[in-house]
Amino acid sequence: MAEELKNKTTGHHGEGGHDGHGKGKKAKRRHHIDASIKPGSAKYVWASISHNRGAQFGMIFIVLIIGLSLLSPYICRYEYSATDFAAMKAWPSFKHLFGTDDLGRDILSRVLYGARYTLVIGILSTVLSAILGIIMGAVAGYFGGAVDSCLMRFLDLFQAFPSLVLAMAFCAVFGTGVDKCILALGITGIPGFARLMRANILRIRNMEYIESATTINCPTWKIIARHIIPNAISPIIVEIAMSISRNGLASSSLSFLGLGVQEPKPEWGQMLASTRNYIRDFPYMVIIPGIFIVLTVLSFNLLGDAFRDALDPNLKD
């Protein structure tokens, strides 16, 4: 009987040429990816990202800047803090590729060395806010009720101020320096992650596939681990990439304002601040660190976008 049923219901699908719409769409948008790789797998995410032009640029730039920054003491001809009074305010030349600043320090060395501050602050502060934010958001979303209200009202306190102002306030209390900067930016980033996680959990908890998992005797912890978290995590990954770029920029802003990394350490924002008086006569001093800030932020944003496309199984344009 089952056999007969099968013939009745499947016989016609066999002939090619009229596959489901979804199939067609997939072939269209992801034509460049080997069809044997299944969406959702890590391999697929990698394939999708490595085929994305923007992400290629972002990854190459990020790897390059990290590598150069780590190697900068060995590859640069000058130390980042070495002053050369003979070549103060020198325009870019073969001797100093990016020129020198008002104290005769080589801008190339400073920019490359300084990348580590921006990146370290951007990445570590994001890790801090992501971990705390995800836990708080997941707890609030899953348990709901009073727990949810308490946590969310508490986070509202943070969101009552513009995040940069809040970070400045933290810096003013904790003091300045790389670690304080990470702490300040990390704390101000918590509400963003918590809200995103909570909203995701709430959305997924009401999906019918969670109900259907209950009907097949799926234990609660398995529902959370297997059905809720995997579906909630992809926007978080995107948010992490975006947050790194945002916090990198914020670290430059704090340093520019004199609250972050201090002289003579060459943080990019701090470089902008110390040379801004020369913008008319020696614009390269400001433009070069500025370009690096822009490129770094852009790279992480492009990477974040590529992750969004690669991780979304529903192909929403």
Binding site: E15, G17, H21, R29
Partner: protein, 326 residues
């Protein structure tokens, strides 16, 4: 061409393509329709058949970012809609041609009272005072069965059926000559649907508005339409009067649709579904679109060039077997 131009409303060879990623979606292929003043045409088809795209092309409200090309002619009272400039279109939309959407909630502004929304729409096209527009709005609401006492309420205070009445009042406020109704009752319960269909029929008879009713429900079409066009994979595969289609369905797809419907008045042991799925819209076919699903398909169908065959005057079928079977 000249014939269409004389008519009240007509579409000739409308072809709409979207682009999606690296391929072209052929949403509407060579669709031609004609409508006389006061007539009601039912446009029937399944999800993705291109019904809504046709309606949106008429009002020129297709999403520009994803449209590849719109070709053909759309005539309204002797004027080419596809050649109109923005100003002419503004005058056309809402005044001469208006549209009712499927979801009444998204068609209304939640922060304005219903009477002010209708009055505002009216004043955009009619040169009149605020008081006059308000009076007209209340008249319209009363016409659709909403008392003046509820005119000052907000959309969220109305139930689904009542909201759809407000949308209808809004669409009819400027006495349009043509009304496009895109699944106007699909979101409503049956008893409410009956009320709304009744209302649409009454108003059409009273005001003489021509209408294109887009739906997937053959029952709804039978209730209100004079003419029917069945659309499949972006093409009209059969059109004619209500009697032509319901008494003598000819195209295998039309017959299939009737067969797939559980019938309240008859007892059938097993439904006869149309097997398979609609074809991939990104592929343009040389042969009949329905061939893969058609129970009567044969080798000759591969050579069929998708032209219409006239069965009786006005009853057109896109199947070469149409004449031979009967």
């Amino acid at each position: 061409m000249a014939k269409t131009r004389e008519n009240f409303f007509g579409i000739r060879h409308l072809t709409v393509k979207y682009h999606s990623g690296n391929s072209i979606i052929h949403a509407v292929n060579d669709v031609s329709l004609e409508l006389k003043a006061g007539e009601t045409l039912g446009l029937v088809g399944e999800t993705g058949a291109g019904k809504t795209t046709i309606a949106k092309s008429i009002l020129r409200i297709l999403p520009e970012s994803s449209v590849e090309s719109v070709e053909g002619d759309i005539w309204f009272e002797g004027r080419q809609i596809l050649d109109m400039n923005d100003k002419e279109l503004q005058a056309l939309r809402g005044k001469s041609i208006s549209m009712i959407f499927q979801d009444p909630m998204t068609a209304l502004n939640p922060v304005k009272t219903v009477v002010s929304q209708i009055a505002e729409g009216y004043r955009q096209h009619q040169n009149c005072s605020k008081a006059e527009a308000n009076k007209r709005a209340i008249e319209m609401l009363e016409m659709v069965g909403i008392g003046a006492d509820r005119a000052e309420e907000y959309p969220h205070q109305f139930s689904g059926g009542m909201k759809q009445r407000v949308v209808i009042a809004l669409a009819l406020a400027c006495s349009p000559q043509l009304l496009l109704a895109d699944e106007p009752t699909t979101a409503l319960d049956v008893t409410i649907q009956a009320q709304v269909l009744d209302l649409i029929r009454d108003l059409r008879n009273k005001l003489g508005t021509a209408m294109i009713l887009i739906t997937h429900d053959l029952g709804v079409v039978a209730e209100v339409c004079d003419k029917v066009a069945v659309i499949y994979a972006g093409r009209i595969i059969e059109q004619g009067t209500l009697q032509d289609i319901y008494d003598h369905p000819t195209h295998p797809y039309t017959c299939g649709l009737f067969g797939a419907l559980p019938d309240l008045d008859k007892d059938v042991e097993r439904l006869s579904p149309i097997e398979g799925l609609p074809p991939d819209p990104s592929v343009i076919r040389e042969h009949c679109d329905f061939m893969e699903r058609c129970p009567y398909a044969c080798g000759k169908c591969k050579k069929f060039n998708n032209h219409m065959i006239e069965m009786t005057p006005g009853h057109m079928v896109r199947c070469w077997k149409a004449n031979e079977e009967e």
